[in-house]
C-alpha cells in the first residue's frame, strides 16, 4: 500500500499550484479553475485519510465539498457573464473599480 505521506505530498503540491495560479493569473475564468483545483486537492486528501482510518465520514464530506464547488462555479460564472455584459473583459484588475 502507498504510504499516506505520498498522498500528503501530492495534494499539497496540487493545492499550492492552485494558490500560485490564483496569485499569478488575471483571467477570471482561470482563477475559478484554480479554485476548483484547490478544492480537488483537499478532496483527494480527505479520501486518502478516510481510507487509511477506515472512516466513511470523510467521504461524505467530499460530497459536501463537491456540492459547494458546483454551487460556487454556477454563481461565479453567472456573475462573470453579468460583468462581461457591462464591460467585455475578464481581466480581474479592470474590476477593481468595484471598490468605489
Amino acid at each position: 500500500m502507498i504510504p499516506l505521506d505520498h498522498y500528503i505530498y501530492l495534494s499539497s503540491i496540487l493545492f499550492a499550484i492552485g494558490v500560485t495560479g490564483v496569485l499569478m493569473r488575471r483571467n477570471m475564468i482561470v482563477l475559478f479553475m484554480c479554485i476548483e483545483l484547490m478544492l480537488n486537492a483537499s478532496n483527494l486528501l480527505l479520501v486518502a485519510l478516510s481510507q487509511y482510518h477506515s472512516d466513511s465520514a470523510a467521504q461524505v464530506f467530499v460530497f459536501f465539498v463537491m456540492l459547494v464547488a458546483a454551487a460556487e462555479a454556477a454563481v461565479g460564472l453567472a456573475i462573470l457573464v453579468m460583468l462581461y455584459r457591462n464591460n467585455p473583459t475578464t481581466q480581474i484588475d479592470v474590476w477593481n473599480r468595484l471598490k468605489n
Binding site: M1, I2, L4, D5, H6, I8, Y9, S12, I13, L14, A16, I17, G18, V19, T20, G21, L23, M24, R25, R26, N27, I29, V30, M33, C34, E36, L37, N40, L44, V47, A48, S50, Q51, Y52, H53, S54, D55, S56, A57, Q59, V60, V62, F64, M66, L67, V68, A69, A70, A71, A73, A74, V75, L77, A78, I79, L80, V81, R85, T90, Q91
Partner: protein, 164 residues
C-alpha cells in the same frame, strides 16, 4: 499499483501546471479535465469507486461543460490576457512553493498518520456511504439541497438580461 499511483500523480501535477501556465483558457479547461480524470483514478486506487463516478459526473460532466460554455459564449479563446510583471509572477510562484512546504510540514507533524486499523475495502462502497450520509449527516444533506436551490435561483437571476 504503486507505479500506477506515481504515474497518475505525475499526470495530475503536470496537467495542473498546464492549467496555470497555458495562455489560452480553452487549453486550461482541457488540462483541468485531465487533472480531474487523474484524481478520479486516484479515488479508484483508494477503493472509493462511487466517489470516483460522482467526481467524473459532477466535474467533467457538469462543471467543466459550464466553463467551456461560458468561454465559447463570450469568445474568450481569442482574448489576449495582459500579463503581470515578471517580479509579481516570480513572487507568486515563490509564495506557492513556500505554502506547499508549510502545508507538508504541518500535515506530516499533525500526529500519528499510520493506518489505524487494517484497511477496509468496503468503506467507499455506496452501501456504507449511504448509511453514513442518511444516518449521521441527514441535516447537512437537507441543508445542502437548500444551498443548491439558492445557487440555482441566484445563477438564473444574475445571468438574466435586464428587462428595461
Amino acid at each position: 499499483m504503486e507505479i500506477l499511483f506515481y504515474l497518475l500523480a505525475i499526470v495530475a501535477i503536470a496537467s495542473a501546471l498546464g492549467v496555470v501556465l497555458s495562455k489560452n483558457p480553452v487549453y486550461s479547461v482541457l488540462s483541468l479535465i485531465c487533472t480531474f480524470f487523474a484524481i478520479a483514478a486516484q479515488y479508484i486506487l483508494l477503493n472509493a469507486q462511487f466517489l470516483a463516478a460522482v467526481h467524473i459526473i459532477v466535474y467533467a460532466g457538469a462543471i467543466m461543460v459550464l466553463f467551456l460554455f461560458v468561454i465559447m459564449l463570450l469568445n474568450l479563446n481569442i482574448l489576449v490576457e495582459t500579463q503581470r510583471f515578471t517580479t509579481a509572477r516570480l513572487t507568486a510562484a515563490f509564495t506557492g512553493g513556500l505554502l506547499c512546504l508549510v502545508l507538508i510540514a504541518a500535515l506530516r507533524s499533525a500526529g500519528d498518520i499510520k493506518a489505524a486499523n487494517p484497511a477496509n475495502a468496503k468503506i467507499g462502497l455506496i452501501e456504507n456511504l449511504g448509511m453514513t450520509l442518511f444516518n449521521q449527516y441527514l441535516l447537512p444533506f437537507e441543508v445542502s439541497s437548500l444551498l443548491f436551490l439558492a445557487a440555482m435561483v441566484g445563477a438564473v437571476v444574475l445571468a438574466k438580461k435586464e428587462i428595461a
